[in-house]
Homo-oligomer: 229 residues x 2
DNA sequence: TCGACGACCATTGTATACAAGTTTGTTGAC
DNA sequence: GTCAACAAACTTGTATACAATGGTCGTCGA
């Protein structure tokens, strides 16, 4: 139970950020975190530096670490890259999937269907994640799997918010159906395109979506600034 | 001149790895590095952890850090992803490039031509890098630029080795010509495909290439093991 | 009353000390 | 002679102390 402490800290802090519990711009106080987790500053610092290397936080020399703020343009860029990688994963999945891979994909697809029909966006959010990971896995490229996973996790909070938009769950599932159809038919290009568009469509709608989000954030910051005084 | 020490250490160590000065599997001794750079273990550890987050080294709890060994399959996977991202960068460059972007691309292209005609593979290696970065830049996607840069740097040593293969420089330049032609003609898909294939072709040839590389490495290790006794 | 300069305090960066674990070498027994 | 077990030394992980810097608050002057 040593050496894993840093790992645990990294995961906990990462989780706080990815769940949106800490707003972008939120300052990460080393001593406060050390007290909270009952450790010294050293492992905290090491965890923070790892997170900074992953791009989740920004460390400004002598001025502490803050949760990285992801601007609208950058978010769109990230979805753009994600779309490209998902497309690749889809094509590779068609070429390389085993029976077990396809079984896993179809199972998660069915779980998505149930969540979608129940109108349960939180359940859909969870099953959707499993569906995509099943496809990454079926591509049989460890590196691509890691890249996709990292980006997927990074975009998690925004994806979750978007699923709450009216009808988005139903549309998302319809897109999944196309993906599955192409996969089972063994149509490489179609599967790639379907997955690409499935992700890209989310990025494309973000221009206006972000506007409301950054609005909410600025009110949050006003709130926390007021609480500080 | 503080807080940059860690950055400097990170870059120095990263450089040692990327230039192939330290073989995969090489153990990174914290005190040795601390002595070498004239600092304490703390900033060394922090630099190492950042590198581990970037995937350049592996840290095994209580057992120290080693230079990550990149297996043949993984290397091919990385080129596969790189090809995909370069393709995207090419297509975006067609859509979004400014006059200055195109000027930069053509300039580096000409520099490549001169190096290729001179048969100077080292110069070509350098100019080739600038050429690709110019294209990443022309895509006007900060995130994509970062992803491409990181992967490009990561694959640097292998690319350099490959350029020494007979005729590879000439063939590489011929591929660049196609890329430039598609870019100037404004053909998005063609540019994307040309760049994709330009990178993918390198990965595809690695199966046999790696065999000789790992052979050379094992003889290196025998050598260093002999030197140790 | 507003702005600028200075001092103090809070927080980060680095070093060192201490604890815990892994590896290696030596010794003994089979 | 070889294998195993124990011990010591070396290496990593964590805590704490100290140094350095940036921000903030207060005071003084215009």
């Amino acid at each position: 139970m040593s050496g894993n402490i840093r790992q645990r800290l990294r995961d906990e802090i990462e989780n706080e950020i990815l769940t949106g519990h800490w707003v972008p711009g939120h300052r990460l106080d080393e001593v406060a975190l050390a007290n909270r987790f009952g450790v010294s500053r050293t492992p905290i610092r090491e965890a923070l530096l790892q997170l900074s290397a992953a791009g989740l936080i920004e460390v400004r020399p002598r001025r502490g670490a803050i949760v990285a703020s992801v601007g609208a343009e950058r978010l769109i860029e990230m979805f753009e890259v994600m779309a490209e990688l998902e497309g690749l994963a889809g094509r590779l999945a068609v070429r390389r999937h085993t029976d077990a891979d396809m079984k896993a994909i179809l199972e998660t697809h069915e779980a998505c269907r149930q969540a979608a029909e129940a109108g349960d966006s939180d359940a859909y959010y969870y099953e959707n994640e499993r569906f995509h990971f099943a496809i990454y896995h079926a591509g049989h490229s460890q590196f691509l799997f890691e890249q996709c996973s990292a980006l997927h996790r990074r975009l998690k909070p925004y994806r979750r918010l978007q699923l709450r938009v009216r009808n988005r769950v139903a549309k998302s599932f319809a897109e999944h159906e196309q993906v599955v159809a192409a996969l089972t038919a063994g149509k490489e290009e179609a599967a790639g395109r379907a997955l690409h568009d499935h992700v890209a469509i989310q990025g494309e709608r973000f221009s206006d979506f972000i506007a409301s989000l950054s609005h909410a954030r600025s009110s949050d910051m006003r709130q926390s600034a007021a609480a500080k005084t």
